[in-house]
Amino acid sequence: MARVTLESVNKHFGTSVAVEDFTLDIPHGSFLAVLGPSGCGKSTVLRLVAGFERVSSGQVLIDGNVVSGPSLHVPAEKRHVGIVFQSYALWPHMTVEGNVGYPLRVAKVRGEAYRSRVAAALDMVGLSGFDTRRPSELSGGQRQRVALARCLVMEPSLVLLDEPLANLDVHLRASMEDEFRAFHAKTGATMIYVTHDQAEAMALAERIAVMDKGRLVQVADPHTLYSEPATTMVAGFIGKGALADAEVLAPAEDGRCRARLFGMDVMLRCQANQPAGKARVCLRPEDVALASEGVPATVRRATYKGGVTEIEAVPESAPDVTLLLIISAAPMVGTAVKVRIDGGWVIPAP
């Protein structure tokens, strides 16, 4: 098991800043997903932890020992960190057995110990009997399993995964997700999993770190991230919903506050210290419903989603907002409806 700590880490390439003031503590044995739009610096964070890049400032600690700092850099080969690459990174000139056994050969493990450990790793990923194949003779999913087995055989206490499913088709992803889950359960290793796919992150991780433009925006469990986004960026990036302007009428009480939204008085969820004043509100589909009384709106679009229908409704008082509702019987496009606001989250002021 390993605990990873990043303290005010900055990384720039020339003049462009890839990671900025990144502070995060990842406890022993946890499964953290790093989520964010393309180019936000996810891979760079991972490569800093792996030791492939040096920090520009700040430091990275593994189990309390500084491994990257302003004047110190433990190279990747000394970190004993398992990595699963998006491109699999299998060596084409070695067999499956050669690939999986490589960490053992480097560590001078020989003979029976070598054979049994390679066999056990291949068995765990369901590839027993594939020893003599070449990577080129395997499917994408099998290749990623080999890469996983290579990681497994190292028995690392920390495993980094950089979009390991990005090159696989949808059907394979689900089974590989199970594979990763089993890997985590079995080894108890700390896992950091980079992805830009929120469904993947939600399905796998206990905690999700959301990044934007090189900065860490929010770290939380999937449920909190969805229901209490820290910024409008998180609100827009995670899950569906609408953002609207509101006026908080009174400071928060018991995590709720009274606010004026679309010209109506409503109760919204908020942070304990939410002051009165202007604020942005995140409205998830669960927060709104069609009713006989409520915000007048027009149905702009209806999409059948199998069993339910997703409709977009535009409030008359705020034509730039598109509310998303999920209902069982859809009204016609263009009909005037009333939307009841049942909840909503006041996004904290930055």
Binding site: A2, A50, G51, F52, I62, D63, N65, V66, V67, L72, H73, V74, P75, A76, E77, K78, R79, H80, V81, G82, I83, F85, Q86, S87, A89, L90, W91, P92, H93, Y102, P103, V106, A107, A147, R150, M154, E155, P156, S157, T187, G188
Partner: protein, 579 residues
């Protein structure tokens, strides 16, 4: 679960291991940087100092003295007129053949291209010797066809002769550049012209050739640069009629007066370098423009069906090959088999004596073969190993210093070989610093000059190969705990091996066939094959020279064929004649 390794145990062991590993990586890098930096900067820098400084003070007096001599101006004019003439011949041959091969449906293109490329790999002195054999009024071909009676002396010993042979030698460069351009040409432009019912000749004239102008100019400047730096052809063909180009003038001065004229020849080499640099700049500019425009290329052009003109076109192509390549080489072969000069070769008197002589009997020619072999094999080995390490850092640990070195390494190959030689003499005529050892007048100065000269031919393909390899393959090795050296051995080397092998062969071929550099650096006992062919010819032993030349051609063609067969496993661009 096994215990985590000791490296994660405590801060102190981490620090210690970091120092050990990082410093070994840095040490390797530092050595390579210093070595490549030395090879690419020091000789050329030393040459510039020699030409532009007198007694440590910047001065152009040396230029004044050299330009006061009429011989300098004559050589300059000769260099320019033969190079321009040779370039024109090369452009005509190269363009015709490129159009034929790239745009039409002639048959046997593979063999045609191989033959077209051959002059590029045949050393210039051998090319010149073959042509001399063909056009010698008393020689086999001139006599048997009766043309010989028209001439008193060999017509090739003239400006026209130099231009012709230079043109033949440089035609492949034009051909290659143009064919690459034609391949990258957007097909829809031609199809649009065809759709407006333009005839074939019109399409070529109005669309293809205008579009190909940058490629053509770029190929022409490459041919020009090569011609400016050529020594073997103007030396063998011009010296008998006292017609000197700059490289020949430098050779005559140095071989006549020795190191006392070093200052003077340094100025002459700088002059030679300036001509080359101007055209390299021009060529780079044209090339960048073509690259820019070729982006977003559509499908390759369908070859024109020549219909009933196909056979005449094929005849024309092969006739060109026969005249420019097969006939001269046959003349060389005939000479090498003729028992004695002036005797007509018949099936009865054919002899292998000259081969036996140069290979086994004469100790000087024999040692020239071993010298060239070890020089070429040594340079190939050292440079490829260097390039493997350098490429690793350049591509996977980018740094401005490495990128600068990478560009600088091109310079000694782009400049004429004569310039490199003079630069090396200037550096090595003194003892190596802190030692009493001087490598001047030993075989090691030739070796050093080869390292300088051919460095980029090893670096270029290997760096390209690194770019084609996923960096994660090395990172995965690091993740497994393998040190840099271990990764080099078990991961990087196997992946880079095919390209490294090809690069080594190409450096070997270039060095083995080389004359321009060794002719200025050789001393008794350190003759190379090139020097030997040249000296034998100058001493009138044409038949022995021909036998030696045939042997080098045999080796060249064998290695080229082997590489071509192996070429399937190589990334494109590694083998020069396959472009």
């Amino acid at each position: 679960m096994a215990a985590p390794p000791a490296t994660l145990g405590g801060a102190s062991s981490l620090t210690a291991s970091f120092l050990a590993s990082w410093s070994s990586e840095k040490l390797v890098l530092a050595l390579v940087v210093i070595f490549i930096g030395f090879l690419s900067i020091v000789p050329i820098g030393r040459l510039l100092v020699e030409a532009f400084f007198i007694g440590g003070v910047p001065s152009l007096n040396a230029f004044g003295e050299v330009f006061a001599q009429p011989a300098t101006w004559r050589a300059l004019r000769h260099t320019l007129e033969t190079s321009i003439g040779g370039t024109l011949v090369a452009v005509v041959i190269g363009t015709l053949m490129a159009l034929l091969v790239a745009l039409t449906n002639v048959r046997g293109k593979l063999l045609l291209v191989f033959c077209l490329m051959l002059p590029m790999m045949i050393p210039p002195q051998v090319m010149a010797l073959s042509w001399i054999g063909l056009t010698e009024p008393g020689g086999f071909f001139m006599r048997s066809t009766g043309i010989g009676t028209l001439f008193d002396t060999n017509p090739l010993y003239s400006v026209g002769g130099i231009i012709l042979v230079l043109g033949v030698q440089s035609a492949p460069v034009v051909f290659l550049t143009l064919r690459a351009g034609l391949r990258a040409m957007p097909a829809d432009l031609v199809e649009a012209a065809q759709a407006s019912s333009a005839g074939r000749a019109r399409v070529i004239r109005d669309v293809v050739l205008p579009l190909m102008t940058p490629a053509l100019l770029s190929g022409a400047s490459l041919a020009f640069i090569a011609a400016v730096g050529n020594f073997g052809i103007p030396a063998l063909l011009g010296m008998p009629v006292r017609y000197n180009t700059l490289p020949v003038l430098i050779y005559r001065k140095l071989s006549g007066f020795g190191p006392t004229v070093l200052g003077e020849v340094a100025v002459l080499s700088v002059l030679l370098a300036v001509i080359a640099v101007v055209f390299i700049g021009l060529q780079a500019k044209l090339l960048s423009r073509r690259d820019f425009r070729a982006t977003g290329t559509s499908a390759t052009l369908l070859p024109y069906d020549l219909g009933r003109w196909r056979f005449p076109a094929e005849c024309f192509g092969w006739l060109l090959i026969v005249v420019t390549l097969i006939l001269p080489l046959s003349a060389l072969l005939v000479n090498s088999l003729t028992p004695a000069y002036g005797i007509e070769l018949t099936p009865g008197n054919l002899t292998l004596n000259h081969y036996r002589y140069v290979l086994f009997i004469d100790s000087v020619t024999r040692s020239a073969f071993t010298n060239s072999f070890f020089l070429a094999a040594g340079a190939a080995t050292v440079l490829v190993l260097l390039a493997i390490v350098f490429g690793f850092f350049l591509v996977w640990r980018p740094h401005w210093l490495l990128r600068t070195l990478n560009s600088l390494a091109d310079l000694p190959y782009a400049l004429p070989g004569t310039v490199v030689s003079i630069a090396c003499i200037l550096v090595f005529i003194q003892p190596i610093p802190f030692t009493q050892i001087s490598i001047y007048n030993t075989i090691w100065i030739i070796f050093a000059a080869y390292l300088v000269r051919f460095m980029t031919r090893a670096i270029r393909p290997i760096v390209n190969a690194y770019h084609a390899i996923d960096r994660a393959l090395d990172e995965a090795g690091a993740m497994c705990g393998a040190s840099l050296l271990e990764r080099m051995r078990t991961i990087v080397l196997p992946l880079i091996a095919p390209t490294a092998f090809a690069a080594a062969m190409i450096v070997f071929l270039a060095a083995f066939n080389e004359l321009t550099i060794s002719i200025l650096l050789w001393s008794a006992g350190t003759e190379t094959v090139g020097v030997m062919v040249f000296n034998l010819k100058q001493a009138g032993d044409v038949l022995e020279a021909s036998a030696m030349s045939c042997l080098t051609i045999l080796l060249t063609v064998t290695l080229m064929a082997a590489l071509s067969a192996f070429g399937r496993h190589l990334p494109s661009g590694v083998i020069p004649w396959r472009a």
